[in-house]
Symmetry: C2
Subunit: 450 residues, 2 copies
């Protein structure tokens, strides 16, 4: 069996390794236009920050290791076309600039996502970065260490993680966000709390501008300022554009592979596209919410790994259905943990649900423990079924523990009433005798009675 995989960061690398274990005598080839495969993209902000020194730590599996396992990795090879009727792909060797065809029995598309490059004047000036490839991370880290001032466009996960990295390196940083609050994926009142924390932690070198956007980069060869819609001019030594990502679907689309309404590749529960022997996984695919079956595009490393594994299982003849995702995510800004799972209130409302919500702030541990900290928890449940639909938790306390307990509850479809009866581990260094998650569930139960 000839398995060809396009892309090799998380999903592609996982699909390759798992397929080889499942069908050891298969021939497996990974094609990527990049210079590296199988690395932790999610770890780059921490490399940039300086939590560790060697970027090789981010590499999970080297091309040499793949070769040793019998998987051929073709770096600097761009797949330009898929020919489904011929079971072939057209590949360009970027080094030698030659084009050739490769046959496959099964094809896996794992082309991932790329940062959106907004149409802003002078965006091609030097020292304007996006973060996707390992080289981007290396270049940002290098430039950061020579910079005094920086501007970040976008206050989502990447923007916030890079803000931490920049501020930790004593760089005066201005983050510009178009929405009313940073972390606009969260509900407004949670995003507001995050923003308050971020703005006040190192105020001398952190500036958050919201409801504004960059309209022009200023500079000759290198960027040295940005201009915003509200006519602010902000001088800077470097710019990071973190204005979102989009799935890479062009060659798939051109080959007649169905794209979902989210703009990502549509697959069934077995990671199969509309073409039987073509699978797709990772940041380029549309998945479904496990609790509703509704299509959604949430590019996350956790999903990519699971989808890559699922693609391998199914293409190798071990059928297994993927239940969907919850969109569980976590990040931090210095001591503040920010985490969520499932639907936010606004997402639920936008999608026609009638949610009931509760938001509480409690200590994460017994109040007399010296390291007790706050955690703010918001729960979202369906008024109709009483089932939990989502939650958000932020705080310097242990927030992600509560979100993960909730994520299992949502996956299982349990109700607010059932969650109120949860048996959460308690000891003073770990929780309060009635855990915040249970307190919140109880209030939700009362609200649902009305």
């Amino acid at each position: 069996m000839k398995i060809v995989i396009i892309g090799g960061v998380a999903a592609g690398a996982k699909a390759a390794a798992k397929s080889k274990r499942l069908v050891p005598d298969s021939k497996i080839d990974i094609y990527t236009q990049d210079s590296h495969v199988s690395y932790s993209a999610c770890g780059m902000p921490y490399y940039i920050q300086g939590n560790f020194e060697d970027y090789h730590n981010l590499i999970i599996r080297t091309p040499e290791r793949f070769e040793k396992d019998g998987i051929d990795v073709h770096l600097y090879h761009r797949v330009e076309k898929i020919l489904p009727d011929l079971n072939k792909i057209v590949v360009r060797d970027l080094d030698k600039d030659i084009v050739f065809e490769v046959e496959y029995d099964k094809l896996v598309i794992a082309t991932g996502a790329v940062p959106v490059r907004p149409n802003i004047k002078n965006i091609d000036l030097k020292n304007i970065f996006t973060l996707r490839r390992l080289e981007d991370g290396i270049a940002i880290r290098e430039k950061l260490r020579k910079s005094k001032r920086a501007v970040i466009l976008g206050g989502g996960y990447i923007g916030l993680e890079l803000l931490e990295a920049f501020v930790a390196n004593k760089v005066h940083t201005t983050l510009i966000e178009r929405s009313q609050h940073i972390m606009s994926i969260l509900d407004e009142e949670i995003g507001e709390l995050v923003q308050d924390f971020v703005s006040t932690l190192y105020p001398e070198r952190t500036k958050i501008i919201t409801n504004d956007e960059v309209t022009e980069f200023i500079g000759e060869d290198e960027v040295n300022a940005v201009k915003t819609k509200n006519s602010k001019i902000i001088e800077t030594d470097m710019v990071l554009v973190a204005a979102g990502v989009r799935p890479v679907v062009d060659i798939a689309k051109e080959a007649g592979i169905v794209i979902g309404k989210t703009g990502a590749i549509k697959v069934n529960s077995r990671m199969q596209t509309n073409i039987e022997n073509i699978f797709a996984c990772g940041d380029c695919i549309e998945n479904v919410y496990a609790m509703t079956g509704a299509a959604v595009w949430i590019p996350l490393g956790s999903n990519a790994n699971k989808e890559g594994r699922s693609a391998a299982m199914n293409l190798c003849g071990f059928p297994e259905d993927f239940e969907g995702i919850l969109g569980s995510a976590v990040t931090k800004y210095f001591g503040l943990t920010i985490s969520m799972t499932g639907y936010t209130e606004k997402y639920a409302k936008q999608n026609g649900y009638d949610p009931v919500t509760v938001m509480i702030t409690k200590r994460d541990k017994a109040g007399y423990m010296p390291d007790a900290e706050n955690v703010t928890l918001k729960l979202v449940a369906s008024r109709r079924t009483h089932q939990l639909m989502g939650g958000q938790a932020i705080g310097c306390g242990d927030a992600d523990k509560r979100i993960n307990t909730l994520s299992a509850a949502i996956l299982a479809g349990i109700t607010a009433e059932e969650l109120a009866g949860a048996d959460i581990t308690y000891a003073p260094p770990f929780s309060t005798s009635i855990d915040p998650l249970i307190s919140a569930a109880r209030i939700l139960v009362e609200k649902l009675k009305k």
Copy 2:
């Protein structure tokens, strides 16, 4: 409505406060032979250790606060008899040494549990302590600070928490455990790991003796050595007896209240005993495992609080069924977290189940993060239904997050296959891209196929 509550630590205090909120014009009286009500017994080891200085921090609600809320607290009043036919209790005022009767409409028994005092020669010597009441905690802390050597009998939760307190205070401590390993509530291989950690962390002042027990305390007025079955003589300045606890059920039993096979008071899902207007809650009652309905006695602060609340709801006419417990528990020994939920393998086997298990050790965070630590996770599932039955997690990494995610999964009755599809939050400072819990579930799925 006259509500009388016997005992006021966790369950009793909660039942009183909640009842008052539900039925503000009820008359509520708490009777206790102790000197304090409403304190965090679970917090005493941390007070003893010196994590905070003032024991008043442990007090959740003072008698004055109760009085202010319209609840009468009678300290140093021992309830000697319950007269169910007359709806009365017989109370002895220990200060004045007088006996009187009190009428009730609803009675709540929250007499808790007391440490077992084993029948060992000279156990009444001075400086031999057990830990239950606040005064015990204060006395142990005081003696500890004047001691150079200590002996602890029993390596369960209390024994281990006090060992940390003693060792942290630079006291040379010998812990003597009858079983093969400390933390014998856990499966052997997990208990072994705990013991390895405990024995090697501060070896110069920590000695663990297993498969042995104290047969005699030696001393005139004060204890100055213990003698063991294996004829060891260990000199000491103080002894802590943490040889387990037993439910306080004597007056209940005498009044014809049914005691369960675990030795604790039998209640229905509404905290009601066999006598309609007598409720019971907290460490003195038998509960059931939520996943099997099997009777079990697990005295824990988390359960006590929930049961106290449940008793209040039901006796005040807001019927609500208690789903049962999972036995979720957590403690720590310095940096090592030890947590569990549901059935251990040995408990499952002892109770006639056919469990399938898996045990793995993984990093709790991305390996390149400088603070990544190990977590060892054991899962127990039913071979018949594939449902999760329990789990144990220990490690210097984030163990209790995994156990609480699992606890929600067990509560909901989900299978190993479903758990393998869990969507757990991932970012390098919080998890690995495939969380250890998912890795373990996947191995379980494979084992269940065989």
